[in-house]
């Protein structure tokens, strides 16, 4: 039975629960918007990285260069799209 629950994945799961609880602090405590967003950004991206590396085995084959480049490129372009859209639609009207 024990071999079905590898330590790495159990630890990963525990860690992701901890990250979720940390993120919940922004709801249960009185935080400024900046502080809250900082906490959320940090926990969300660590959580995503955790899934990618521990659970999705992104780095286990010789294609890992292509896989990581592709995902980082996607995340970068998604961030550019989000920030650029906000710049054009909301922030840019001062």
């Amino acid at each position: 039975m024990k071999e079905l629950f590898p330590a790495k994945q159990v630890m990963g799961f525990v860690f992701s629960l901890i990250l979720t609880i940390v993120a919940l602090l922004v709801y249960y405590t009185d935080m400024s918007f900046t502080a809250g967003m900082t906490v959320l950004l940090i926990t969300a991206f660590i959580q995503a990285g955790l899934q990618l590396i521990v659970f999705m085995h992104a780095g286990e084959t010789k294609d890992k260069g292509a896989i990581y480049t592709n995902i980082y490129y996607g995340v970068f372009m998604a961030l550019i799209t989000i920030l650029g859209t906000l710049l054009c639609m909301i922030w840019g009207y001062v």
């Binding site: 294609d63 292509a66 592709n70 490129y73 996607g74 372009m77 550019i80 799209t81 650029g84 859209t85 710049l87 054009c88 639609m89 922030w91 840019g92 009207y93 001062v94």
Partner: protein
């Protein structure tokens, strides 16, 4: 009868009824012809169910050429209407419909399939592969594109064409101002074709990353393959944005949501924003493969290796990154502040730098080369100065303050035609001429080809350079007429004559194909251009398995080095080859998608639900299907190889 009212044309005219009759007769003629010559089985076995990348490439090519003429007829009608002041040839509504379909057809159903045709035919051969990574997905991509294009094209005889421009800006594209189903066609037909294109992107990225012949490192790939890799990377990251934007537009029109509406918290300019987040990378999806084609051709006919290989690669990678950082230059006049405009202005101008690097590299490749002025080379030589003018006017448009003068004028129309026609269209025609012998086993006539190239260039200059002048003088785009007092008349007449000259040029392409089919020599060998890359190392016609033995690569131009230094490309002996099986599923799924799109356009809900289920059933069947492909035996390979070697 109420049910059938929705299919009526909202703005009928004799031309549309004539087209209906023409379409009906053509369909009947095709069906009768196939039946008379007993070609139904051949069509099904060899084409509709094929998963061979070469045949799929040819089908893309035929579709692209058909759409070129469909969009070209639109263009001539537009120029005819504008040729004289206060002309009555078309009314405002028909003019709107025609410029909208002209734009969509030319960009999405002509230029895109044309480059994908060349990806399909050339890329696996250039990297020494037997097929693409996912052959059946490739067939599905084609059928989705094809059915999307067909759905879009029936709009003008059933229910009305889209009339809100190829950019389909809201609120104009909303229900209030576009009542007919035309804009539904736009949203749904492009969605279907776009899903196909996205799958193409995934497929070719995987193919190029994983299926290169042994020894072909990334920095030893031919330039066209590099351009294909970068363009498909952009496809993978840009097309999802279009998918989302079109889905939102569809929901706004059919389900009453408020994404782009002007009330209830919607934001109309968000559509423009999302459209160009996709739209700007899209133009680089078109131009980078064109650059790749020019690189192959210039190096082949200058008889020199490409100057600055590494800088060529890096400039494409940089362009791919920048292409996602410039989109707001399409709406500098929207009203956002100077800071936003300045940021996008600077990123836009910065793109000129890597593009300039490429222009200089081509010039240095030509420098002291032994230039052979073949038709593909003629297009490439004409491309360099004409495209540079388009690039320079692009930098003018990039200056956000000055853009208030140029925005939505004929100056802009002249600019983007100036980059797309000498940039993309010339490259596709050059690529068509260059790869024609590999595809069909004979060459296109050089003399007619040169006439075509010159007519297109002269026609192009005459058609579009006057628009720079009238645009600066304030002639707005998308206006169906103007008064004589504006003084635009003579310039627009010149443009119309230019358009006619271009029409003659395009007609000559058809004549050239006819002439060459009849008279061209079939005895041309497998390497008629004395070329440099792997696609010329295999036989003509290319056997099903492309290469009997997988080539071993140790340089950028393996075939050239093999010819000059006598290196052996194909080491080892024949082994049985694994090939994918043909399948009717992609074609059937394409047909279901067509029915799905059609029901969606006209909001006929029951067939929509049935076809949606049908699509998922197809996916489920595919999941359970066991298909290990088949093997070509050593005996069969030997037989084919002996026969083909004899033919050469």
């Amino acid at each position: 009868m109420d049910f059938f009212d929705r299919f009526a044309i909202p703005n009928p005219s004799p031309v549309i009824y004539a087209s209906m009759v023409a379409i009906g007769l053509t369909v009947l003629a095709i069906i009768a012809g196939l039946t008379h010559f007993k070609k139904w089985g051949y069509l099904w076995r060899e084409w509709l169910t094929t998963v061979d990348h070469k045949r799929i490439g040819v089908m893309y090519l035929i579709s692209a050429l058909l759409m070129l003429f469909r969009g070209g007829v639109d263009a001539v009608m537009l120029r005819a209407q504008l040729a004289t002041p206060d002309a009555k040839l078309l009314d405002a509504q028909h003019y709107n419909e025609i410029f909208s379909t002209h734009g969509v057809v030319m960009i999405l159903f002509m230029a895109m399939p044309f480059i994908i045709a060349l990806f399909n035919f050339v890329v696996p051969l250039q990297i020494g592969a037997r097929d693409v990574a996912f052959p059946r997905l490739n067939a599905l991509s084609f059928w989705l594109f094809f059915m999307g294009a067909m759905l879009f094209n029936i709009s003008f005889v059933l229910g009305g064409s889209p009339d809100a421009g190829w950019t389909s800006y809201f609120p104009l594209a909303g229900n209030q101002f576009s009542e007919s189903v035309g804009t539904n066609y736009y949203m749904i037909a492009i969605q279907i074709a776009g899903i196909g294109t996205l799958m193409t992107g995934v497929n070719f990225m995987t193919t190029i990353l994983k299926m290169r012949a042994p020894g072909m490192k990334l920095m030893k790939m031919p330039m066209f393959t590099w351009s294909a890799l970068v363009a498909n990377l952009i496809i993978v990251f840009a097309f999802p944005v279009l998918t989302v934007a079109l889905a939102m537009g569809t929901m706004d029109r059919l389900f009453g949501t408020h994404f782009f509406s002007t009330d209830a918290g919607g934001l109309d300019m968000l559509w423009a924003n999302l459209f160009w987040v996709w739209g700007h990378p899209e133009v680089y999806i078109l131009i980078l493969p064109a650059f790749g084609i020019y690189s192959e051709i210039i190096s082949t006919f200058a008889k020199r290796n490409l100057y600055g290989y590494k800088s060529m690669v890096w400039s494409m990678v940089v362009i791919a990154g920048y292409s996602f950082l410039v989109w707001a230059h399409h709406f500098f006049t929207m009203g956002q502040g100077a800071l936003t405009n300045s940021i996008f202005s600077i990123t836009t101008m910065a793109i000129a730098v890597p593009t300039g690097v490429k222009i200089f590299n081509w010039l240095f490749t030509l420098w002291r080369g032994k230039i052979q002025m073949t038709v593909p080379m003629l297009y490439s030589i004409l491309f360099i100065p004409l495209f540079t003018i388009g690039g320079v006017t692009g930098v003018m448009l990039a200056m956000s303050a000055a853009d208030y003068q140029y925005h939505n004028t004929m100056f802009l129309v002249a600019h983007f035609h100036n980059v797309i026609i000498p940039g993309v269209v010339f490259a596709m025609l050059a690529g068509l001429t260059y790869y024609w012998p590999k595809m069909f086993g004979f060459m296109l006539n050089e003399k007619i080809g040169k006439w075509t190239a010159w007519l297109l260039s002269i026609g192009f200059v005459l058609a579009f350079f006057p628009m720079y002048i009238t645009g600066l003088d304030g002639q707005a785009r998308r206006m169906y007429t103007y008064s004589a007092s504006t003084g635009f008349g003579p310039w627009n007449m010149a443009a119309f004559i230019g358009a006619l000259i271009m029409a003659v040029g395009f007609a000559l392409i058809v004549y050239n194909i006819y002439y060459s089919v009849r008279y061209a020599s079939r005895d041309i060998g497998s390497d008629p251009w004395d070329a440099r890359t792997l696609e010329w190392a295999t036989h003509t016609p290319v056997p099903e398995y492309n290469f009997a033995i997988t080539p071993q690569i140790d340089s950028i131009e393996p075939f050239w080095d093999a010819k000059k230094n006598g290196q052996e490309l194909f080491k080892g002996k024949f082994e049985k080859i694994h090939m994918p099986n043909s399948s009717g599923m992609p074609f059937i799924m394409g047909c279901i998608f067509f029915a799905w799109g059609f029901s969606f356009v006209f909001s006929i809900w029951i067939p929509l639900i049935i076809t949606t289920i049908g699509i998922f059933v197809c996916l489920a069947l595919r999941s359970f299907e066991v298909d290990h492909g088949h093997y070509i035996t050593v005996d069969e390979i030997e037989e084919t190889e002996t026969k083909l070697r004899g033919a050469n």
